[in-house]
């Protein structure tokens, strides 16, 4: 399969959809490619038929109103030559040819290891939400939501709305940090108010985190810092978000401090390659949308129109900065894992085996931490927080693919 377009957008979340919409509206042939079965990314997962928010409704409608080629169930894994990406689908490999590229690969949750975190039914916060969105019945189940970030509130509210018994939310940020966040985000107050209403009666404990998850074959209860033991069916635990950088790094875009470097037009260090959304820095929905629009306009050569959106982006960036400061990780979280706690889940590498090494490279080579199927996507955020180790260069494939896809009938 071959797809030729003017603007190829990788990622069908808010940033990608915004970029594609602007490009298509400008008269360019736009293609969006995404690993998931339908558009929406994480935040609007499964909402094409039934949007859950005004933004989702508006943007999913906008996408349908222009001519965009949507390729779902396709994972981009390699760039064999300039101007082309390869994506694997269940039917084979798709060759995606483009003039301009927008990387809107979004973010994933940051996981930190603690005793018992590998038990079945311990999941990410977004993880459990995604599972419920895609068909897991949660009615009547006891759920503890923990970790850090505004995602916890959104997840708790969503789960409650689907009938879960959300026992409490444990937010590691201190109450003082959270108060500053509340005060500084007036523009978000209507959202905050709605969430507050949905979560009425659910204890929200700041300065609180999970010390240990207990169970034999699966989760049975959790122990909280200054919170005692809580029996539960699911633990939805995630520590904010980290950008998905693998594709940008594979293409050799410059990254720094864990984000893709872009200029004011959302252009990366590679010509005709743009990036927008969480991959350029975690900043939430509104920022992702305006960045996506700017990238789409810039890719279409409409720099003047892009410039008009700069003030909006600036405004949302301020919120993003506040967001990331508020939910910075406290030091206590570095000491949750016991020596025998698994840090790399793919290869079952424990903390004590890892910490004897002086560098990520040495640790990877000797323990194979980060060398499994997830290629460091789960343990990477943890080893960076625990040891200051940063992931290094990425080789193809960006995601595991069938051997025949690497050959691709060449």
């Amino acid at each position: 399969m071959v797809n030729i377009c003017d603007v190829l957008v990788v990622g069908a979340g808010p940033a990608g959809l915004a970029a594609a919409w602007r490009a298509a509206k400008s008269g360019l042939r736009a293609t969006v490619v995404d690993d998931n079965p339908s558009a929406g990314g994480q935040i609007w997962r499964g909402e094409q038929a039934k949007p859950s928010s005004p933004e989702a409704q508006e943007w999913l409608k906008r996408i349908r109103s222009v001519d965009i080629q949507m390729i779902n169930g396709a994972r981009v894994f390699q760039q064999p030559e300039a101007g082309m990406l390869l994506a694997e689908t269940s039917n084979g490999v798709c060759e995606l040819k483009y003039e301009s590229l927008v990387l809107a690969t979004g973010a994933r949750e940051r996981f930190l290891p603690f005793p018992g975190w590998t038990l079945p039914n311990v999941m990410g916060a977004g993880g459990l939400q995604a599972l419920v969105k895609t068909g897991l019945p949660i009615e009547g189940k006891r759920v503890v939501v923990a970790g850090t970030g505004p995602l916890l509130l959104a997840v708790a509210a969503y789960l409650r709305g689907r009938g879960a018994n959300v026992l409490l939310i444990a937010e590691q940020a201190s109450s003082m940090q959270l108060v500053r966040f509340g005060i500084g985000s007036f523009s978000k107050s209507s959202q905050a108010f709605a969430l507050k209403r949905q979560l009425k009666g659910v204890p929200y404990r700041s300065g609180c985190w999970v010390l240990k998850a207990h169970g034999t074959e699966k989760l049975e209860r959790v122990t909280l810092f200054r919170g005692g033991d809580v029996a539960c069916d699911y633990l939805a635990c995630g520590f904010h978000l980290v950008p998905n950088l693998e594709l940008a790094e594979l293409l050799d875009c410059a990254t720094k401090d864990g984000v893709v470097n872009v200029n004011e037009y959302q252009e990366t260090t590679l010509k005709n390659v743009y990036s927008a959304g969480e991959s350029t820095g975690i900043g939430g929905l509104e920022l992702s949308l305006v960045e996506g629009e700017i990238a789409g306009l810039a890719a279409a050569g409409k720099r003047d129109d892009a410039q008009k959106l700069f003030p909006i982006r600036q405004k949302h960036r301020k919120f993003a900065d506040l967001l990331n400061r508020t939910f910075a990780l406290r030091d206590e979280l570095k000491h949750l894992a016991a020596p025998e706690t698994i840090v790399c889940r793919c290869e079952d590498v424990t903390l004590e085996r890892l910490r004897v090494h002086e560098s990520w490279r040495a640790a990877k080579l000797q323990t194979r931490c980060g060398m499994g199927p997830c290629q460091g996507r789960v343990c990477g955020g943890a080893v960076e927080f625990l040891f200051g180790w940063r992931a290094e260069s990425v080789r193809p494939p960006a995601l595991p693919v069938r051997v025949e896809s690497l050959i691709r009938g060449n």
Binding site: Q78, P80, E81, E358, S359, R361, A362, L365, Q366, T367, M371, G372, P373, Q375, R395, P396, P397, P400, V401, R402, V403, E404, L406, I407, R408, N410
Partner: protein
């Protein structure tokens, strides 16, 4: 600036350097190991850990056979992380010509005491059911094994340190001097003997060294525990390793103890950059799925490259430099560094201590290479 003096300074803590280090330390020599990067970070990290006897030449056979016996002697004491697995090799014959080669190889090995087994088409299919139909047969060498080399290098370094060797990690050598080495930070280490075991970096430290980079590609799959039992190599592999100019690929696949499959192999001359070459990768995998059709559907996790240190006559350089009175070389092992690391260490130390080595060393002496061959 304090004076640091050792009997031996070893440059490079790859598998060859680290094996030499522990062997020198066992002799009671004071040893400094100087490694610019991480232990086992060069070709040791990139290649397949195949412990294999080869019959390319008598000299190659002697060194691989000697080394393999040394590996067998220590296999029980190796840590779990080294993942030593005595799975054996099968050399695959795709046609009658290759089958004749297989029989020749079998005779060569059995004449020299290496246990072998000739497999006809039927027994080959039975023992490795994933191989395609229509192959003629093969040669099974049950004494070959597989290890995870970085862990072995780490183990040897630890063994050397336990015998009072000292490790200078993340320390780069600027130049080899008359009586030792000078580091990039300006300080010096004096040594009675300097060993250049820096693999593909060795020519940077010793001028005129006939060691060139030979790039290879590898692919690793997810876990498929019962897919293969042996390391499988096509008999055509020898043609690939023989070529001194052309880019080549050959079927070579290894089952790891984890159940993952390590797919190789490729060889390229005169390529200095380490990025994955899509056309070579494709050719290599094409060859592999020709032999193992079921490989197509398996999940591949990662691809990478590495540089072997190759000499013009395909034998390593093990012994005194000649001109520099204190300098010894232990480099140029091409694709056999893992196997021959142990034999290299023994015959190097024998030369340093002026003892008779267990095997004749003339074929590996650095002094044997005088003129640069026109075609290299």
């Amino acid at each position: 600036m304090s004076a640091r003096t050792y009997d031996v300074v070893i440059i490079g803590a790859g598998i060859v350097g680290s094996a030499c280090a522990v062997e020198c330390a066992r002799e009671g020599l004071s040893v400094a190991i100087v490694e610019a990067g991480i232990i086992g970070g060069g070709a040791t990290a990139a290649g397949m850990g195949h412990l294999v006897v080869m019959d390319d030449s008598e000299a190659q056979f002697a060194l691989t056979r000697y080394s393999q016996q040394l590996w067998d002697e220590i296999s029980d004491e190796l840590p779990r992380e080294v993942e030593h697995d005595a799975c054996g090799t099968i050399w695959i014959a795709a046609d009658d010509e290759e089958m004749a080669e297989a029989r020749q190889k079998a005779r060569f090995y059995s004449d020299r005491g290496v246990p072998v087994e000739i497999l006809d088409a039927q027994s080959l299919a039975k023992i490795e059911p994933q191989l395609r139909q229509g192959l003629v047969g093969g040669l099974r060498v049950p004494g070959d094994s597989v290890i995870y080399p970085p862990a072995a290098a780490q183990y040897f370094v630890e063994q050397a340190l336990a015998r009072r060797a000292e490790l200078f990690l993340g320390v780069a050598v600027e130049t080899i001097t008359a009586d030792g080495i000078r580091l990039r930070d300006g300080t010096s280490i004096a040594a009675g003997v300097i060993v250049n075991s820096a693999g593909s970096w060795s020519p940077q430290l010793t001028r005129g060294l006939e060691v060139k980079k030979r790039k290879g590609h590898l692919v690793i799959t997810d876990r498929y525990p019962n897919f293969l039992r042996h390391q499988l190599v096509e008999l055509g592999y020898l043609k690939s390793a023989h070529s001194v100019t052309a880019d080549s690929v050959a079927f070579n696949i290894q089952p790891r103890k984890t159940g993952q499959l390590l797919i190789g192999s490729s060889r390229q001359y005169d390529v200095d950059e380490s990025s994955v070459d899509v056309s070579i990768l494709t050719r290599m995998l094409d060859r592999a799925v020709e032999y193992l059709p079921g490989l197509r559907k398996l999940s591949s996790l990662r691809t990478w490259t590495g540089f072997r240190a190759a000499t013009p006559d395909k034998l390593p350089l093990i012994g005194p430099h000649g001109e520099h009175k204190r300098l010894y070389l232990a480099t140029g092992h091409e694709g056999l560094g893992i196997t021959t690391s142990l034999g290299t260490a023994k015959i190097l130390v024998a030369q340093i201590m002026n003892r008779k080595p267990a095997i004749p060393v003339a074929p590996y002496l650095p002094g044997r290479v005088t003129q640069e061959p026109a075609h290299a």
